[in-house]
Symmetry: C2
Subunit: 229 residues, 2 copies
DNA sequence: TTTAATTAATAGTATTACTATCATAAATAA
DNA sequence: TTATTTATGATAGTAATACTATTAATTAAA
């Protein structure tokens, strides 16, 4: 028996569901590879079409534009991450251990879990680190939010926020802390690989130091309020 | 006697120094307004040229492309902020008060200080919140960093990092914490105005709550290590 | 006063981000 | 089986973007 991980993505993000067809899955697979390789700015539907031996118009039949494709991929990533977090924290009773697990998962590189053949989670993770914030740093963000395009991000913040509250019910900013964990994990990761002078992580133990930095930041903050509150 | 605030910007960021001429200053002033208004993606040199009654080629004589203009503006912002921080923390002996000042400055909206007639700092601040990360989230980041395009960001992280170390010399990640303060201040600000469900800040006291959240995060982390170390 | 250097104005090009149309092959329903 | 829907392919076309290049006009230096 095979458990297939299937993500539910907001229908407003695509014209035709890319998970349903061979071409659609090819679009997903190769867009992850190409955005990772070229960066979002230099990635075009024409280049993607050539790569998969299809046509530009063919890609446009699945996605209205590359921005919606980016939101699709970020949604996919956050949904997958939410599932993953629920999976690895399952049966963990200790509230601190649970949060530690989440921080480690976010701060460390992700391995392709091979549950989904058409998306390489490891590649998607590096893509997300560099590109995810572009999905909301736009003038359409409020409108996009009304269409619930960022729900997977909200879901994961609520989940992590609940973990935070379970550990300390008096902590005042669980969702802000949750979104902070995610964003800090991403941009400190980006900085340490690209502008290392903005961080203090040594070449050798980058990942473990990032985990330590984040854990320290999060726990000292939660625990301090626990004592006070 | 008038003290004119003058920023030194990396010469690789422009072709001709925009601060030196009337047209250049018009380009700076109106690009801040237009990027703020249209967003970086929809902002073009052609639209800018029309706005200032010049020509597209005229703008290109000052900046190679709009990405370099964005890095220029972020550099300008961080340089201005560094100056501002040094100014307001001058004569403050208490290490905690000094850091508190910095956090408040970063988390609260900025008022136009009218020292520079051609750049509205308040507008520039909202622009930075939404667009600054696009200046480094590119495939050219490593190359740009080699050209020292992000030095003002490094400078401000070193400055804040030194404040952190002054408060607690044993804290292990001063630069990461400094860049974290800056980035968290920016994206929590963006979230509370645009995707408020990712934060816990109420409509009424947003700014003060953001200051509280950030202060709590930073100080509990530094102080915890102080006890331990 | 001639020459050199700036700056302005105009035109032009390759690429991007699409839209539209028509042909064809494969799957499915009547 | 045939009819019909559905998916993809092939081609063309357009407006806007991101530039580059050329020439003309103006100003400054020798």
């Amino acid at each position: 028996m095979v458990f297939q991980f299937k993500v539910q993505i907001n229908e407003g993000l695509f014209i035709r569901n890319p998970e349903d067809t061979e071409l659609g899955r090819k679009i997903l697979k190769h867009s992850v590879q190409m955005i990772h390789q070229l960066g979002f700015e230099d990635f075009t539907f024409k280049k993607l079409a050539e790569e998969i031996h299809s046509t530009e118009a063919g890609v446009y039949r699945y996605f209205e534009n590359k921005h919606k494709l980016l939101i699709y991929l970020t949604s996919w990533y956050f949904s997958w991450l939410t599932f993953h977090i629920k999976f690895i924290t399952n049966n963990i009773e200790n509230n601190k251990d649970r949060l530690s697990k989440v921080i480690s998962l976010l701060a460390k590189p992700i391995e392709d879990d091979e549950q989904t053949s058409y998306i390489d989670e490891s590649l998607l993770h590096s893509l997300i680190v560099a590109e995810a914030s572009k999905s909301y740093l736009t003038k359409q963000v409020v409108e996009n939010n009304k269409q619930h395009f960022f729900k997977p991000y909200q879901d994961i913040c609520n989940l992590i926020g609940d973990f935070i509250l379970a550990y300390n019910p008096t902590y005042k900013y669980p969702k802000s802390l949750a979104s902070t964990i995610i964003e800090v994990a991403h941009f400190q990761n980006f900085f340490m690989h690209n502008i290392s002078s903005l961080t203090d992580f040594s070449k050798k133990k980058q990942e473990s130091q990032l985990v330590e930095f984040l854990s320290d930041l999060v726990f000292s903050s939660i625990e301090q309020r626990k004592d006070k509150g």
